[in-house]
């Protein structure tokens, strides 16, 4: 009896030790449900490098984790503004583009337009100095056309979320929802990276609006279940990222995706290598693996997000994997990108806590 117990303890201890010990591996830190996991296996097979996938729900959650030096991730996929924050805080390596197989001229013009690589103003932050694009997209309203019509949406814009008496899902993300509120209220009249206090207060009121007719639920990736089945969608409208919308629309024909004309946020998610990464070579290998034409195509087909490579985009559109209207990113007048702003970040975090606490 004693020996059996001893044996169990011993084997357990060994298995714990074994799981701690890594021969050659990278710790990949990225958003949930954002990669075709069969590609990880393919990479492990091809390079003999294990990928430990660690996921986060939002950039806001990810940043403190990256700052926590004990975590030592090898590769992270945050969004543009988070990359800026991490870079400003000195947590990131600059990318050696010579080691990246995907050249910058392969990138979609929308990316180079929004995050120009001119090198003209060295003081100006350039996301591409620190990162290699992974996917990009915008934020819009995913709607069930059997419950809400496009005409209604075009008439109301973002206000449709508050004004139509239906079940609505708000995306549980600080920045995106504040952006939605600001655009709904001020369209092109607001700098979403530097709103006045009055504008922020108005946005808070918009989000916490107690007079709205719709029922609001805060959720994020639950959208995949809620909107998947035609005829039994949980929400009539959901604030959604373009990629999720594209994927869901391919599964449920009732769905449509509308980006209000009052403006949206165009974002870019990209690979970054933290300074304290322990296996930087493997990180470069992984970036090159994921940004190759074939793998990026497989990946974009799987998740539905827009790839940064023009050749991949063309392939998706010519093969009609996804419809061009929602898959291709176009930058419209009122669209903007996020920038890092310490003060605003704190204000937004507090604002968001208040909004969430009220619901």
């Amino acid at each position: 009896m004693k020996k059996i117990v001893l044996l169990i303890v011993l084997s357990l201890t060994l298995s714990v030790l074994a799981s701690c010990e890594a021969s050659d591996s990278i710790k990949l830190f990225m958003p949930t449900e954002y990669i075709d996991e069969s590609l990880l296996e393919a990479f492990e097979e091809e390079y003999g490098i294990q990928v430990e996938l660690i996921v986060f729900d939002s950039n806001e959650i990810a940043i403190p984790q990256i700052e926590d030096q004990s975590n030592a991730y090898d590769l992270v996929i945050p969004s543009d503004y988070a990359i800026e924050e991490l870079a400003v805080k000195g947590l990131l390596d600059t990318i050696d583009w010579d080691r990246i197989d995907m050249t910058k001229d392969l990138l979609d013009p929308a990316i180079t337009q929004l995050w120009p690589d001119c090198g003209c103003d060295p003081a100006d932050f350039n996301v591409l100095n620190y990162s290699v694009p992974y996917f990009f997209g915008n934020v819009g309203i995913l709607y069930d056309s059997t419950r809400v019509t496009l005409t209604q949406l075009e008439a109301l814009g973002w206000d449709a979320l508050n004004d139509i008496d239906e079940d609505v899902m708000f995306y549980d993300s600080t920045r995106d929802m504040i952006m939605v509120a600001l655009k709904a209220l001020y369209a092109g009249e607001v700098d979403i990276n530097n709103p006045t206090d009055a504008q922020l207060a108005a946005a808070e009121a918009w989000l916490a609006d107690t007079t709205r007719v719709s029922n609001i639920t805060y959720a994020s990736d639950e959208i995949f279940d809620a909107m998947l089945v035609s005829g039994s969608t949980q929400y009539a409208m959901a604030v959604s990222y373009s990629g999720d919308a594209v994927y869901l629309m391919s599964e449920n024909d009732d769905l449509g995706y509308y980006v209000p004309a009052s403006g949206s946020n165009v974002w870019l998610d990209a690979f970054v290598i933290p300074k304290n990464a322990e296996n930087k070579d493997a990180a470069y290998d992984f970036i090159n693996f994921m940004t190759s034409f074939d793998n990026m195509l497989l990946n974009t087909e799987y998740v539905g997000y827009t790839a940064p490579r023009t050749d991949v985009i063309s392939d998706v559109i010519t093969n009609e994997t996804y419809p061009e209207s929602s898959y291709r990113m176009t930058v419209r007048t009122n669209d903007s990108i996020f920038r890092y702003n310490t003060e605003l970040k704190v204000k937004m975090a507090e604002l968001w806590a208040r909004v969430r606490a009220q619901n």
Binding site: S15, S19, I54, Q65, D68, N71, D221, S232
Partner: protein, 262 residues
């Protein structure tokens, strides 16, 4: 004994029904042949197949069991020896230790969870499986102690004297006399430790946040895309195991009762 009145029987049945309806529905939908958790469309075992094919779920199950076993063994050992040594401590020290011991018991779990999160953050300890195990040990030990300590106190102190008197070294006394005497307390403590570890969510969630390690609870909590009946299948299997344990317990106690009556 007293007969149950009609009212009390009805009340009992209704409550039991309400408790078990969700659990039964959970099991029923694990056999659904569509993804829906609301409409039963037909019988299938596909979710059970998917369950065993899913690396993430199996990892979570493995992590849960691993953490539960290690933390149960460690906390039972630490707590039992601690409870034994408590009786030898000076009164003021014992009272202080017992007060501290009660902190995690009277505090909401989330406070304990935050305290571990802060501890690991402050000392830059990489969160992961190890921190999860450490946290589980730490919150189980106080429960083991409050379960074992009364048994230690109830024990006739002369038994220890007798053992020593008969030539047993302190270690032999511990092994041959004290531990067998407090066995029931130790088993109860270990059972509590295992259950708490197996079901724990909040503390695990904070103690391993930012790492890839997930137990079943964290897996469920962070699960977003594709909530499928695989979870129901997993639940059904857990319920099956627990059901078996309960049935076993039931017949065992019945047997004991019968023996006592003889």
């Amino acid at each position: 004994m007293s007969k149950h009145t009609f009212t009390s029987k009805t009340f009992l049945s209704i409550v039991l029904l309400l408790i078990y309806i969700p659990i039964i529905s959970l099991v029923v939908f694990s056999f659904n042949d569509s993804k829906s958790l609301i409409q039963f469309t037909g019988f299938s075992l596909e979710w059970y197949v998917k369950l065993f094919e899913s690396g993430t779920i199996m990892d979570a199950v493995f992590t849960t069991i691993l953490v539960a076993i290690i933390s149960t063994i460690a906390s039972t050992l630490i707590g039992t020896l601690g409870a034994i040594s408590l009786t030898k401590n000076k009164k003021w020290l014992r009272e202080w230790i017992l007060n501290f011991n009660n902190i995690p018991i009277v505090n909401p779990e989330i406070v304990t969870a935050i305290s571990f999160f802060v501890l690991f953050g402050a000392f830059q300890i990489e969160r992961g499986l190890m921190t999860m195990i450490i946290a589980h040990i730490a919150f189980s030990v106080p429960y083991v102690v409050i379960t074992v300590y009364p048994k230690v106190r109830q024990m006739d102190a002369d038994l220890i004297s007798a053992s020593s008197d008969l030539g047993a070294t302190p270690l032999q006394t511990l092994w041959h006399v004290i531990l067998p005497q407090i066995r029931i307390g130790i088993i109860a403590g270990a059972a509590i430790a295992f259950t708490m570890s197996f079901d724990d969510f909040v503390i695990s969630y904070f103690a391993s946040s930012g790492s890839a390690v997930k137990n079943i609870s964290i897996y469920l909590y962070t699960l977003k895309r594709g909530i499928e009946p695989t979870i129901n299948a997993l639940s059904a299997l857990i319920i099956l195991v627990i059901g078996m344990k309960i049935t076993f317990d039931y017949f065992k106690t019945q047997k004991n009762l019968m023996e006592e009556e003889e």
